[in-house]
Symmetry: C2
Amino acid sequence: MKPIKAGLLGLGTVGAGTYHVLQRNQEEIRRRAGRGIEVSMVAVRNVERARKIINSGIVGSEVEVVADPFAVVNNPDIDIVVELIGGYDLTRELVLQAIANGKHVVTANKALLALHGNEIFEAAQAKGVMVAFEAAVAGGIPIIKALREGLSANRIESVAGIINGTTNFILSEMRDKGLDFNTVLKQAQELGYAEADPTFDIEGVDAAHKLTIMSAIAFGIPVQFGSAHIEGISQLQAVDLRYAEQLGYRIKLLGITRRTTVDGKEGIELRVHPTLVPGARLIANVEGAMNAVLVQADAVGATLYYGKGAGAEPTASAVIADLIDVTRLATADPYSRVPHLAFQPTELADVPILPMDEIRTSYYLRVTVQDQLGVMADLTRILADAGISIDAVLQKEPGEKARTDIVIITHQTREKYVNAAIAKIESLATTVGKVVRIRLESLG
Amino acid sequence: MKPIKAGLLGLGTVGAGTYHVLQRNQEEIRRRAGRGIEVSMVAVRNVERARKIINSGIVGSEVEVVADPFAVVNNPDIDIVVELIGGYDLTRELVLQAIANGKHVVTANKALLALHGNEIFEAAQAKGVMVAFEAAVAGGIPIIKALREGLSANRIESVAGIINGTTNFILSEMRDKGLDFNTVLKQAQELGYAEADPTFDIEGVDAAHKLTIMSAIAFGIPVQFGSAHIEGISQLQAVDLRYAEQLGYRIKLLGITRRTTVDGKEGIELRVHPTLVPGARLIANVEGAMNAVLVQADAVGATLYYGKGAGAEPTASAVIADLIDVTRLATADPYSRVPHLAFQPTELADVPILPMDEIRTSYYLRVTVQDQLGVMADLTRILADAGISIDAVLQKEPGEKARTDIVIITHQTREKYVNAAIAKIESLATTVGKVVRIRLESLG
């Protein structure tokens, strides 16, 4: 059978990784797919640099290198366009053009899909082509496939994931070495684990892109990045990691999405924030730059998927798996292919994403107080009045005289009740500064 | 679109689970698959009991219940036969007959596929039908899909899994409570975690069935159950779990399959046995009846898949995912479907399974010795002469006077060298009884 022809947009880290793995494992891939997958055209800004990468491969002379990505997208000989440029303006245009030309698309671009996924999937559906994006979430872990196909018998209840390696690396280092955020960030940048401008990672935006995609697939709803609640780790203090540890928890940046019912109405939680997780959970023990996704579903129960969430070859692994899948399903009746968002496009549900006020979870609260009789009684009274029950309390001398840190772990409650209670606690004369509030998930 | 019609063979734990999940989640499944999946016929030994199970469902009146499984297999209205009977004589006949009748087959039967997989897949290939078996390995964890599709870009290097819940439950309890094997087995039987005749589980046969299937898929070789090395946990002593713990390891029953090179020739290791694993590894922390599979592959690196490996609904989750996949791929060009053993049938490799003498791993050795000068020197001399280097030594008084337990962790070596060294150690006048030898994998 003739090899399928792929055109690559971009030959950066992931693009070069994809090219090299396709070359190195071409036999293995052909033995699986039943036909070869050939990169016949590459579009890059720096054509000279690209030629060097390609010539370092086993065979490469037949690859056409161009500067104009539209030359790939409009080339009638290309069967599949592989978008590995990043960003969401030019790539939106390129992907829509590829679809209009009747080409299948494989992309690793989470931002593009989190922002323009609905438009792109609709165009692809109308044209009868596939847009595959395993590499957009959790790198080489086949989590899109697991959610969309592996668990297709289930009503999925929740997805909770460590889906940003940079922040997990930073949190692991902060905990291990007792260092503060800024010190570790600087080290991470020196080691190449964090980018020069790390905002997207450390502020949770990258994780929210990925979570938005998983949420859509898990629950059969459109992608709704605009409704995601996003908090990063840059405000986390080393002292809270230490206290969490003493209480038997670890702090992880989790992306959490969950079905819930508020006042009798269905809603979906969609949130990225630092989270206390019981130390005994497997996911609490995912260290360094690794990713893991925990899925709760009605029939199968809890399943967990772990691996490298970034990097040239782990991401290439997912890109190429998509290439093989697309090659395979290209011959199937379009209606029978795996739907982009797991559910048939006519079957997406209209369940609202909940505002944060309405979510239910537990909380870690740290209150610094003046060491005075009756302080604890005041705090516990405020929480009791708000209907918030207490799971654990830790009292610590932070080193400053006449001050005490009181750490409270609450049982589950609605966020708006906690926020109201915090406002009251902060208005007490004995409270010093702001209350630190970190959400806690038992993931039981 | 018309619902697809499935015929169920067997309505035991997994059969009833499959029936119930298909009923409960029929809307969710239809929204995903684009068409309904309907159980229209069930074959069971006890027709009355089956009617009760079916009538307890939401809709069930249209299900025909028969005593003769061949009536399902030969019914022209059935699209997919779901074999959930177990055993490998009658089921072999039924599955081959279903294939001959041009029906797709979904099965949870690991024994059947480990023993007769090659014959069955060949028949299916010739007839252009699919045999799907996600439920045969690790219950609800979509590990077949991950190995066969999710990691299809990779050269897979090794698979190591906790793939039998009964034995993992027993080992967790032995470690937790310091109890011996027989005591815990009895408790496990009372709790329903072990069967009345637990031989297949505790002696590693069930794990070897599953490992055989994963090995074939990972490396593109035929199923070769007859060449698997199988050791269970019934001979494990509580003292060795304790010593392992003191050295920083846990003992798990692992199924391990790995590419290797011996004397310049390619070979594949295929073995189930108790294994020491460093306590810090995620897989070492998989407790109770849970399953986990760790895959090493060249592009993606290490990935791990965790979840429930047995039970009515976790297994049903996998059975139904297969039903949906088969429904979907039924419309694809047969050549483009996912090959049964991951690689195209003409592309299976002829790499031999290695005899145990040739495998390379590390070892835990416990030698009980008479407390005498020079004993340690004798032991270490024997190992050094055999070219085996030592990673750690632990010396313990087992409580009997004038005796000492010497525990040695070796670096990697070939099994035949260790066995030869053990024979020499056992022939020493100072050695009491047999040397306990447990393999160790760093899984790094």
